[in-house]
């Protein structure tokens, strides 16, 4: 009940035109579908969903790729590797707002070591967060940096669970590193990667602090993802009914997405078995 009560309130609010400056709107259920009908005709909402899709696909893909790569590098036992593992976890345990500030500095042309270095070597880079062609990419880079350790950690755990005998057998049979990874290791970590992808996909939909600190949804609206749009409607315009309708659709979307992924991976596993 504790978990579900706020969600019920969210859904109920989404059925009202709740506007904080108009108290009578709080329990007005005279047009329960009003907000949802508005959303269907709201191009900014549709656009925000598309931006969300781009952000989620790019960040999840990169986090899996980088996480997997680093996990493979760190798989093994040596003092340096153990220290490196701890080091790589730092971005994930930093408060999101700190990560935002850190990347804000990194993207500030005047003071960023990255920009200064690129300018020094004769390859000046424009400000990524104020360039509409790069702003979303800038968010993707920061988001990937923050969360690839999650994938790395999960994959590393899976890699260390692989029994030694199939790896030794493959080596004796003359398999190269790529073949060992593709035909021996990958089947073992495949399901872990799927679980990591689901977690990261759901979490990517919650992307907020980085956008808030780095771009405020801009320039224009190129980084205005769906939850940022909901936030703007609720907190800037006091339209809590409309904001709740957006949030409700997001919750529903996450449920549907999780269900589909679960079904697809279930089918894949069944076929593999």
């Amino acid at each position: 009940m504790i978990t579900i009560a706020p969600a019920i309130y969210l859904v109920l609010t989404s059925l009202t035109p709740l506007n904080l400056t108009l108290p009578d709107t709080a329990w007005d259920f005279s047009a329960p579908a009003g907000n949802y009908l508005d959303l269907a005709e709201d191009p900014r909402f549709t656009r925000s969903v598309w931006i969300q899709v781009k952000l989620s696909v790019a960040t999840v893909f990169l986090q899996l790729l980088v996480g997997l790569g680093v996990a493979l590098l760190l798989n093994g036992s040596s003092r340096i590797r153990e220290m490196a593992r701890s080091g790589f976890l730092i971005p994930m345990v930093l408060p999101p707002i700190v990560v935002g500030i850190l990347w804000r500095v990194m993207y500030a042309v005047d003071i960023s070591p990255f920009h200064r270095f690129m300018a020094f070597v004769g390859l000046p880079v424009p400000s990524l967060i104020t360039d509409p062609n790069w702003a979303l990419t800038a968010i993707v880079i920061a988001e990937t940096w923050e969360w690839f350790p999650f994938t790395m950690l999960m994959v590393l755990a899976a890699l260390q669970m692989i029994p030694a005998s199939p790896l030794e057998a493959a080596r004796i049979d003359g398999a190269n590193d790529w073949q060992i990874f593709r035909f021996v290791m990958f089947p073992y970590i495949q399901s872990t990667l799927v679980v990591a992808a689901i977690f990261r996909l759901i979490d990517s939909i919650k992307a907020f602090p980085l956008i808030f600190v780095l771009t405020d949804g801009g320039p224009g609206d190129v980084t205005e993802v769906t939850n940022y749009y909901a936030y703007r409607q609720a907190f800037t315009f006091s339209l809590w009914g409309y904001g709740s309708a957006i949030a409700t659709l997001m919750v529903a979307g996450v449920f549907v997405l999780s269900y589909l992924i679960d079904r697809l991976t279930g089918v894949a596993h069944a076929e593999a078995d």
């Binding site: 400056t21 009578d24 508005d38 801009g218 609206d221 315009f237 006091s238």
Partner: protein, 504 residues
């Protein structure tokens, strides 16, 4: 929680509304014990009539044990207040939890807190663009009773000393007061490296054309970028828009039809975008007001249309441009000069628990003595007390490199009495503000042409305003609570009537 009354007696408030009720109806709920206490306290009246200086009994301070939660957006004055808070605690016994988040964060937090009529904060900044919304919704406490009560406000605190133009936005339609202004800021022009303009035969640009001609010559001279302005486009852009003959709404506050898709709006946006993109530093579109101020003080950027409160810091310690600065009113456009003017003030949320103590804070923080010390020691500009603005000391302080910025401030405020700032205090300006910010972001970053982006902003603003309950039409309604006025959201929301124009 024990509080001392002006008479020197102590009492324990029954509930948050207790103090106000007792103030309004002193004859109510007088018990024998209270009468005895009041009688005893009366002996001290001759010593305590100078309110605000009530002596403590037995070493106790007037509000010992009271803690106030206070918040304001981050600006020079609120940040300075933090340094002086120990004085306030020493004087009154009131402890203060105080924070100054960034402008957008503050506004969102305060808007939410006020809308719940909660008691989380005792004193909040009344933000200019939210004045109509917060006051109209009844989220703030009327302050007139505090001012009128001689026991709470001594005559020498002198409310009449505040600039009337700054006070006006803090009143409702009936004239009741809900905020005491701590700043009236104006948009003006600053040239941090005026020496570069002078060396090339230019004075301070009087028009936008003059400005662009000068920038074409001095941009990047001595490694200094020519132009910058803060990326709060909802504040900066309207000054350019009005200079080109446009406005945000058709006729605010009566006609709230947005007018962002006009040729004047496009011309103004193109000019602002061109100034930033052609003469600004790298990432010019991302500069916040703090960054603009520091870039000017460091002499990295030459010219800006910037707030007086920040421009005044060019003459303060740490500035590298004190000897090269020059100032002027914001440049004219084809249709004239429209310096933006905004006031922010301290207010008491309607749900605040410690309203008397909150008023003590407001009185102290805006006392002549404290504000004067801030102007003298820290060069605080854009103050709201006429006696300070007119004082020789302040005038001298506001003279930077021979330019009287205080006079520019007064001249700009005088211009605003034409009423061109009305667009900013309508209850739905936050919606327009957000759309302007996005539209200018698209234009300056080259995503869209001005005409296209502003047409989109126009459509989006209309959608947002409709969602907020505003109805649009070609003619005003002839029914409702007065001619041309009706309940904005139809019968369902008639409890909150708003001025609007409706569908014919």
């Amino acid at each position: 929680m024990t509080q001392q009354t002006p008479g020197g007696s102590h009492r324990r408030p029954r509930d948050p509304g207790d103090q106000e009720e007792s103030m309004a109806h002193p004859h109510l709920r007088v018990t024998r014990r209270q009468a005895l206490r009041t009688g005893a306290g009366a002996l001290f009246i001759p010593f305590t009539l100078r309110a605000g200086k009530a002596p403590a009994q037995g070493g106790r301070k007037p509000f010992d044990g009271v803690t106030l939660n206070i918040s304001c957006w981050s600006a020079t004055y609120p940040k300075l207040i933090a340094d002086y808070l120990p004085e306030f605690q020493e004087k009154t016994g009131i402890k203060v939890n105080y924070d100054t988040p960034g402008f957008p964060v503050y506004n969102q937090r305060a808007d939410l807190e006020l809308s719940t009529k909660g008691s989380g904060f005792d004193v909040l900044n009344v933000t200019f663009i939210y004045t109509s919304r917060w006051i109209g919704a009844g989220w703030l406490t009327p302050l007139d009773p505090f001012i009128a009560d001689a026991n709470k406000t001594p005559a020498d605190w002198d409310f009449a000393d505040f600039v009337s133009g700054s006070v006006q936005p803090m009143r409702d339609k009936a004239g009741a007061l809900y905020g005491i202004p701590w700043i009236s800021d104006v948009l003006m022009a600053a040239a941090a490296r005026f020496d570069l303009l002078a060396a090339n035969g230019f004075g301070m640009p009087d028009t936008l054309d003059d400005l662009e001609k000068a920038l074409q010559v001095v941009n990047k001279k001595d490694g200094v970028s020519g132009f910058i302005t803060e990326n709060h486009w909802g504040w900066i852009y309207p000054a350019y828009l009005q200079a080109f003959g446009g406005n945000v709404f058709r006729n605010p506050p009566d006609d709230l039809m947005p007018t962002l898709d006009t040729p004047e709006a496009a011309a103004a946006a193109e000019t602002l975008a061109r100034l930033l993109n052609s003469y600004g530093p790298e990432a010019a579109a991302g500069y916040t007001y703090d960054q603009v101020t520091e870039a000017l003080r460091a002499g990295r950027i030459n010219y800006s249309t910037h707030n007086h409160a920040f421009c005044a810091l060019l003459g303060e310690e740490g500035s590298k441009v004190t000897k090269t600065s020059n100032f002027a009113m914001i440049p004219k456009g084809p249709k004239g000069r429209f310096p933006g003017v905004a006031s922010h003030g301290w207010g008491i949320p309607v749900g605040a628990k410690n309203k008397d103590a909150a008023w003590e804070f407001i009185k102290w923080s805006l006392s002549k003595d404290l504000v004067q010390r801030m102007t003298q020691k820290h060069g605080l500009g854009s103050v709201t007390r006429k006696s300070l603005i007119g004082s020789a000391d302040y005038k001298q302080r506001m003279v930077i490199n021979g330019i009287d910025t205080g006079q520019l401030f007064l001249d700009s405020i005088a211009m605003s009495e034409q009423g061109y700032m009305k667009y900013r205090t309508v209850h739905v300006y936050p919606q327009a503000n957000a759309q302007i910010t996005q539209a200018l972001g698209r234009i300056i970053s080259g995503q869209m042409k001005a005409k296209e982006s502003l047409a989109l902003a126009q459509a989006n603003t209309i959608a947002d305003l409709k969602r907020a309950g505003v109805r649009f039409g070609a003619t005003p309604c002839q029914f409702g609570n007065s001619p041309g006025v009706r309940s904005v959201s139809g019968p369902s929301y008639s409890a909150s009537p708003r001025r609007c124009w409706c569908l014919p």
